[in-house]
């Protein structure tokens, strides 16, 4: 009985919250254009799924595309930074500037300079997602056990061997932590970039649908699109969590 409760408790609480929301809207007769009820949102979602689905897919593509790019560039750059202090000192300021400049300010500019809307959105989402992966991996690479390093040195391991067999596995918990953060940020970046830069037409994701619904005061539709965004965020989070468990559960304290 106790075991069951633990597992189902979050679901139960969530359902309770939805129910309260539905009741609130009903009791206070809140109009649908101010706060739609969960039931109405659900109905709207199903009715509009045909038009929302391609937008959802687009947002998912951008998110995972940016995440993939962030992983590759994050791993590459962090390895470079660790292998060469010169490179690190030269390029770290740029990385930091990219990190701290708000994407809402950069996004419209990027859209001016880059012709392809998809390309611009990918770039914006990448900017937001790349830094946590890179900085976490650098820390992880540096956190390698000193004795293990000596061991590798003792056996005359090449730089590449050390990177591949020692530094990378050592850094993997840190990298995966960074990846979990970057996953959520990638989605946020994709959505915010689209909001700010304002895409339209064929190459559009959920952000444009939200905007469109907002301009046309189609509030239930707006909420429906928001639900899809949240679902995507939750899915990404649990996916990356599973990944982390898979790689770390047999040896790292964080996932045991």
């Amino acid at each position: 009985m106790r075991l069951n409760l633990n597992r189902y408790l979050p679901w139960f609480v969530f359902l309770l919250a939805l129910l309260s929301w539905e009741l609130l809207v009903f009791i206070y007769q809140i109009p649908h254009y101010i706060l739609p009820s969960p039931r109405l949102i659900g109905v709207t979602l199903i009715q509009n799924f045909e038009s929302l689905a391609p937008a959802w897919w687009f947002t998912v593509k951008i998110t995972f595309g940016a995440l993939g790019l962030s992983v590759i560039s994050g791993l590459l750059l962090s390895s470079l930074f660790v292998l060469s202090p010169w490179i690190e000192r030269s390029f770290l300021p740029f990385a930091i500037i990219l990190q701290v400049t708000p994407i809402v300010a950069i996004a419209p500019l990027i859209l001016i300079y880059i012709d392809s809307t998809t390309g611009a959105l990918l770039l914006c989402a990448w900017i937001v997602a790349f830094f946590p992966i890179m900085s976490n991996t650098v820390i992880g690479l540096r956190a390698t056990d000193k004795n293990l390093r000596d061991l590798f040195r003792l056996y005359k391991a090449t730089r590449w061997q050390t990177l591949r067999l020692l530094l990378m596995p050592s850094a993997s918990p840190y990298f995966l932590a960074g990846l979990k953060i970057a996953g959520g940020l990638s989605l946020i970046g994709a959505v915010v970039a689209e909001f700010t830069a304002g895409a339209a037409g064929r190459e559009t994701g959920l952000a444009s649908r939200i905007l469109e619904a907002s301009f046309r005061t189609e509030t239930p539709k707006m909420f429906a699109a928001l639900v899809l965004v949240s679902l995507t965020g939750v899915a990404i989070f649990s996916l990356l969590n599973q990944l982390s468990v898979f790689f770390l559960e047999h040896w790292h304290d964080s996932e045991i």
Binding site: I34, L111, G198, A199, G201, S214, T217
Partner: protein
């Protein structure tokens, strides 16, 4: 004796003013763009005391390319909303959102597409083949939809317009949106050339423009407030067009520092020249005039274009005509 009289007068004046201030209705009016001459009448009524005299304490809240003031009206956060065309009210009624148009300040929609000269865009049909058409969000979800179905424009051409002329100036083949009474002037100043301007109204987009929308509940519960606001706004427009508008211009420049005196004046001249504010029924029945037939006619056009289906919108809910067509303010015309 004189002193006593003076002090009593001063005291009474103070009390009166206090009562007046307390008695004023607080009104927020949100526009759909950054301040420009096409909003001039409202700012005029604000600075020359017309709103105050009507017992209204008005705040004008600017819109902008990224700003969406629309949901605020239904939510009751603002009292009146400026709308650029009838498509927004149609959509609201279609979605069961209780807002209604109460006045139409522009008889002609100055919404236009603007292009570089010498690129073949002198012919309107050529615009539909342009690689890039820059449209801001508000337009994207209204008249752009009409351009797609009626004139063969495609979403692939669409790029967001962020109130920045540089992308247009930089690319000769690009097209951007604008008001026929505004952007061409700025473009001439910055780009040093006279652009090609195509009014949507000349190609079938026969909507009223710069409409004032109010909440349907206010029409029921407080029509007097609406009447006072509409009347004062109408007077404001007459004064802006025909009287001293320096103060109104100054206020708009404060709100939108990109405006220059010269641009504002030329804009006013164009508005008069193109009959944007005063033409058709407005000449007879005063600025702000609206009639149900024209609303229906425009709706039918949109149905034919495929934007709506015949029964989608209950036209009775789109607009009320009780607050206009009474030749208010005509005496201010010179």
């Amino acid at each position: 004796m004189k002193n006593k009289f003076l002090s009593v007068s001063i005291a009474l004046t103070c009390i009166f003013s206090c009562i007046q201030v307390l008695a004023q209705d607080k009104v927020i009016f949100a526009t759909n763009w950054k301040a420009q001459a096409a909003h001039g009448g409202f700012y005029q009524a604000l600075v020359d005391g017309t709103y105050t005299k009507a017992g209204l304490n008005v705040t004008i809240q600017q819109g902008g390319p990224q700003v969406n003031n629309r949901p605020l009206l239904a939510a009751g956060k603002i009292q009146f909303l400026m709308t650029g065309n009838l498509l927004h009210p149609f959509d609201n009624v279609k979605n069961g959102v209780p807002t209604v148009a109460v006045a139409a300040m522009f008889q002609k929609d100055p919404q236009a597409l603007i292009a570089h000269p010498g690129q073949g865009y002198e012919n309107f049909a050529a615009l539909a083949k342009a690689t890039v058409v820059m449209v801001a969000k508000d337009g994207q979800f209204s008249w752009w939809q009409w351009l797609k179905v009626q004139h063969g424009f495609k979403d692939e051409q669409l790029k967001p317009y962020n109130y920045n002329l540089s992308p247009f100036l930089a690319s000769k083949t690009s097209v951007q949106q604008g008001y026929s009474v505004a952007e061409p002037i700025y473009i001439e100043n910055q780009g040093k050339f006279k652009p090609v301007v195509h009014l949507l109204a000349d190609h079938g987009f026969s909507t009223y423009s710069t409409l004032i929308e109010a909440h349907a509940e206010m029409v029921q519960k407080n029509p007097d407030l609406i009447k006072r606001f509409v009347d004062a706004s109408i007077r404001g427009w007459y004064n802006y067009l025909y009287a001293d508008r320096k103060a109104a211009n100054a206020l708009m420049q404060k709100e939108n520092p990109e405006l220059s005196d010269d641009e504002l004046e030329r804009s006013v001249a164009l508005m008069k020249q193109q009959g944007v504010v005063e033409s058709g029924e407005a000449l007879e029945r005063g600025i702000g005039a609206m009639n149900a037939n024209r609303v229906k006619d425009f709706y039918d056009k949109m149905v034919k274009a495929g934007l709506y289906k015949a029964g989608d919108v209950d036209l009775k809910k789109v607009a009320v005509f009780d607050f206009v067509n009474q030749s208010v303010g005509k005496e201010l015309r010179k």
